[in-house]
Amino acid sequence: MQRPELIDARPVPRPSLWIWAGIVVLVAAAFIYDLFTNGNYRWDVVADHLFDPRVLSAVVWTLILTVGAMVLGITMAVTMAVMRMSTNPILRGVAWAYIWFFRGTPIFTQLIFWGLFVVLWPTITLGIPFGPELFSVDSNVFYTPALFAIIGLGLNEGAYLSEIVRAGLNSVDKGQWEAATALGMKRSKTLWRIVMPQAMRVIVPPTGNETISMLKTTSLVLAVPVSLELQFVTNAIGNKAFLPIPLLIVAAIWYLFITSVLMVFQSRLERYYGKGFDDSEADRGKVKGMSKRQQAILASGTVHDDPNLEVTP
């Protein structure tokens, strides 16, 4: 058979594309020029302080706060999401109230509150309300600002994440619950082994974003007050030396570096939880490999179930 002559047509001209590209290049060039020539950046000071022990310690504290808050946040989120799906109305109510409260007040307010924990509750008493006291402890014994900063950030985060977790759990086909249930698996086993791994696909991307966001939210813990993290420390050093700009740049570089590492980690996780869902060669064009959206379209009955129906009798 003779090869057909392939179409080789000119694309539609897009002059606006070139104009925009030109503007972007000009602005970028101006910015780079400024970075090199503007003495106010004081790159020498930036270099001196990038690995300053105080800065490094602040980086570590920022990471501790971020990780601690996310661990607590994820734990709370899963607990609350599961409680909201419970058949027990009290558990559902508690979860609803938690989310309502922690989403409804600013994180800054909450952090100040946690800082005042000892003022509000000088002693913690275990006992029966209006009844006898069993056990009592002075709050100062366990109060540490960093711990309460983590609790404050974590509880706030949990309220946001629980909605993400709930959306993830709801995204999993009801048939998965039924299949596991029909095999005699208990609810908790079904949740952890069958539903959650599939929900992760929906949960991981926004949780990654939340982690990156948390990294920066840790700068608010001065409300507790905690003065160990990166933003506060670099700001303090900068103010003392009358060089705020280079120290801000130091902070920005570290935040960008950690964010970049987190992004790599996030994309790894996303790929991991996508396993088993990818369309394989053999699968292409068949119902099973289709996206949820496509399946929903099919299920709505507005399209033919079988595209071959008309040609195969």
Partner: protein, 255 residues
């Protein structure tokens, strides 16, 4: 000597809110028997078999599997609901195969089959893997053990689903339109596996539109319409010379 039927359904009703879906079902399925349930869409076939393994709670009547009252305990004339754990225990003896396979997509075929033996029966990993390979061989899929569901055809997926149910060594298998989601050329392989299973003596309740299967494999055919059993009996009698007009109308349409 009378033997206890494998499934004994007595006067079962099911309401979804105000919707009366099962209107007094009586049905006995003997050990080793294959009971095929036919009927138009929306007649309550799925609801009936979902009640048997307690995916739905019955609203009235009694349902026994192998003589054991399902979902309830009756003592001195008072009924008590069973706990989730007790119900899960009862379900272990009943395997179920769904129209849409419902394989666990994040697990390979072998892992799908291993899951319940490991998590429910507490088998060791090597024991469960051996069992899974036996069951996959039984449905002719030994060479697909390491494939994920998305890498299998619909017919293969449904056969894995059958293997998965069989791995719990159930006494009763329920099938809810196991071939309805399949491309026509893949229906045969699934029906073939089911036929072998029937020949091996498994007690089965099969909801299907495959009249040929009902005729060939069924010991008893039940025709349901609008929440009641309209007619039941020998496959050939019910399908080829029905007594009831509603049954006749249905088979006139599908045959």
């Amino acid at each position: 000597m009378t033997t206890t039927p494998m499934v004994d359904i007595r006067g079962v009703h099911k309401f979804f809110g105000e919707l009366h879906v099962l209107k007094g079902i009586d049905l006995q399925v003997q050990r080793g028997e294959v009971c095929v349930v036919l009927g138009p869409s929306g007649s309550g076939k799925s609801t009936l078999i979902r009640c048997i393994n307690e995916l739905e709670q019955i609203s009235a009547g009694r349902l026994y599997v192998d003589g054991e009252l399902m979902g309830l305990r009756e003592e001195d004339g008072t009924l008590y609901r069973l706990s989730d754990e007790q119900i899960a225990k009862q379900r272990e003896r009943v395997g179920m195969v769904f129209q849409r396979f419902n394989l666990f997509p994040h697990m390979t075929a072998r892992e799908n089959v291993m899951e319940a033996p490991r998590q429910v029966r507490g088998l060791r990993k090597d024991e469960a893997a051996k069992l899974a390979d036996e069951q996959l061989a039984r449905v002719g899929l030994s060479d697909r053990a390491d494939h994920y569901p998305a890498q299998l055809s619909g017919g293969q997926q449904q056969r894995v689903a059958i293997a998965r149910a069989l791995a719990m060594e159930p006494e009763l298998m329920l099938f809810d339109e196991p071939t309805s989601a399949l491309d026509p050329e893949l229906v045969g392989e699934v029906l073939g596996v089911m036929q072998e299973l029937a020949a091996s003596g498994m007690t089965m309740i099969v909801v299907t539109h495959e009249v040929g299967f009902a005729r060939e494999v069924g010991d008893q055919v039940v025709f349901m319409d609008d929440g009641v059993i309209v007619e039941r009996g020998e496959p050939r009698q019910v399908i080829d010379s029905p007594r009831e007009q509603r049954t006749k109308d249905f088979f006139d349409k599908v045959l």
